[in-house]
Structure formats: structure tokens, C-alpha cells
Amino acid sequence: MSAKPRRRRLAREELRRIIEFCRSVENKGLNPFLVNVEDLISVIREYFPSLKNAEELSLDAEALNHVASIIRMQSEWVKRRATSLYRDPFLIEEKLRSLSTGDLAEVFLKAWHPIVELEQITIGSLKSSMKYWRSLAPLSERWREEDLLKAEAGITTREELVKQGILRDETFLSEIERMWMELKDKATRDGKMDYWDFIGAESYEETLRRAYLASFLITYGYATLEIQPLEEKIFLKPNDAPVSKTDAQPFSFPIPISYERWRQWREQREE
């Protein structure tokens, strides 16, 4: 390979590298003074004579454009540091982490002056409301309850649930563990989560599936049940690691997952 094509290839690579570097500084909001603008300009200048076609020249222009953006960022950086609003970002982040939600809300209220406004209906929104109203099914259809079959309570097995499609046919333990992780994630604030908020899902079938799995979560020691009888509330608390319950006296705690209760939960959630 002769020297000229090699130099052109090198020039393209260098220009792309400059573009990527500048772009990452722009996007990540890094200190723009980390970029040595003079170095970049000298590289662009050095390779400019070897560029020939339109694609190479547009790469050169793009690289220059990004360098110009870095210079603009440097100017803004200096301006911002000179303003009274500037505080060390690390100090602020530390403060935000250490303050409680109550303190944060209280501080915010002192600096917050919400807008006062009046909303009124416009011709456009009136038209779309009319259109919506006309296409709406009558109440008798929308509120029609699905006919439910009354069935006697009985015992089911995991195999039957797999057959009925309530449970997926995959390793049972891995499913339990996935649910355990989900519970840990959702219960980060108080270390516990409302039972219905955890098992509740968009469909009744999915809720049943989650309730079934949650019962194993407790049986296998991945989580414990906290019952507050006065408030009629049940909470699930994830354990850090599965706890063996060989010493404790096992007991059963039935939780009815009725269709009515599920509908109630959904309505409350939508409110």
C-alpha cells in the first residue's frame, strides 16, 4: 500500500476519533477543559491536505463543528462558575443524598411558587369530547359483568396449573427467585410492600398466578408475611437470603383472592 492512501485512511480514523471524543464529552456533561482543543486543531490541520473526496471533507467539517461546540462549552463552563448559582455538584449531590424526603420537600416549598391558572373548555376539546361521547358504548354494555361459574374450592397441583396455562412451564425455583428479586426491588423504601400491590396484576388470571407464587415465596423462606389485623393490611417483607424455618412452628394463613377483591383493588389503584 502506498503512503498516500494509508495517510487518507489514517486521517479518516483520526477525524472519527475526534468526533466521538467530543460527542462523549458533550453528552456526558464532562468538564470541557479535559479536551485539549489546540491538540485537536493541530491534528485536523495536519490531515486536511490529504483529504480528497466529499465524504472526507464532510468528516473534517463535522470534527471542526464538534471542536467548536467544546469551545462553546468551555465558555459556558467559565460563565457558570462565575455566577452566584454555582455550587460544587459533588457537595449538592451529597446533600441531596443525606437529606430526608421531608426535609427536601420543606426546602423545595420555600423556593416554589406554583402558577395559578384557570382551565376552560375550547371549541377543539368540545369537538373531540362529542366525538368520544358518540363512539362510546352504552353503559349496559360497558358495565356488563362477566358471568362467573361457581365452583367448589378444591386442591390443585403445579402440574395442573401448568396445563391450564396459569403457570409457565419453566423451572419453578427460578420463577420464585425472580419474584423474590422483584419484591426486593419494590420494597426498597420501607423494606416491605402491600400484599395486594405486589400480587395484583392487570388480569385476574395473572393475579392468581402471582398469589400462588407468592405463597411459595413465604413457604420457602424468601419472604415473611406481616399482618396488621386492626388496619386489615397484609405486607410482604423480603428476606436478604432464604431463611430456613425448621425450628419454627409452621402455620397456614389463608388469603382469599376473590374476583370481587381483585376488582376492588384495581378500582382503588385507578383512583
Binding site: N27, R87, L109, I115
Partner: protein, 193 residues
Amino acid sequence: MARATRRIGRKRRYSIMLKKAAQMILYRRHREPGVKGWELRRRLGSDYPKVLQLLDEYLGNLGLTVKTVFEEDGSPPENPTIDQLDKARFYVTLREELSLGDMKLVGWRIDDLAGLAVSLAYIISKGGKSPRKELESLLRTKLPGWRVEMNLNRYIRMGYLIEDENEQLYLGWRTRAEVDQKKLIDLLMEQEA
């Protein structure tokens, strides 16, 4: 006698303009509330800044104020030109500070408000721009994981934040209108943990 009649006429004219200005600012006619300076000039004439000053004095009795948000970022000009005022947007906001007890009146939960405080202060500290992922991870220390995304989307929907196609978050129009950014940062730094 003629002078007195002229004075009453002027008073009446300003009283009508005051009502018009209040309606224009308070009633929401566009996607954003408030009104632009040039819209006020078209309806009220070139002395609309005087009308706004009178409106501000009147609203002061009700604990409200006329807030001017200039087009340019940064501190507002001390003596704005007519051109700057024409391009500015005017809102009516609460004049006084709110207390924790008032929070229910404006329909916010404590942790939603704390999340908003964290989001705004963090973006301000980063010079007005922050990657969404970074802010999400900070918010997770304050809010349950499943609420972080929901809250951020709510702040964006309400206009407190703006998100671009590179998942970068910026301060939105509502923040500029409602939040005293300098005061927020100063108070945060003063607050004892």
C-alpha cells in the same frame, strides 16, 4: 372640571385593561399557561407593562404576583427593553412561600415533591443538563424503584423537565416560571441533615 373628567376617563380605561390582562394571563388558551408580552401589547397597547404593574399590586393583596420569565436563560435583566418584554412570558404565581400544611392544597405528596426537588437541584448543579440514567439512580435512594420512572415522566409531562432524544434531561418552562433556582440551592446547602 375638564381635568377631573380626563382623570376619571383614564382611571376607567386602566380598570378595563386590568380586567383584560387578568383574563389573558389566568385563562389557559395555549398548551402552556400564561401570555406572551407581544400578545398583551396587541390587546392592551404599548403601555401594557404599566397595566401589569398595576395588576401585580392588586394581586399582591391576594398573595399572588405577576411573574415575568424572559426568553434568555440566566438572571433577568434589571431594566428590560420593550423587545425583551415582548418576547417574555407572563404568569400569575403564588407570591408567598408555601408550608408543609399547604402542600395538600396543591395536590402533591411529600415524596413526589422531594423527588422533584432532587431532580431540579441535581440538574442545576450539573449546569442545566444531566443524563436521565444518572438522575434515576440518585432518585432511587429517595423513592421506591418502581416510582422513579413514573415520577420522572410526570415531571416531564408537567413541564418541569425536558428530555431530548439522547436521554438528556434539562429544566423545563415550568421550572423557570415557578422555582427560584438560586434560593433552592442556597436553602439546600444551608439545611442540616
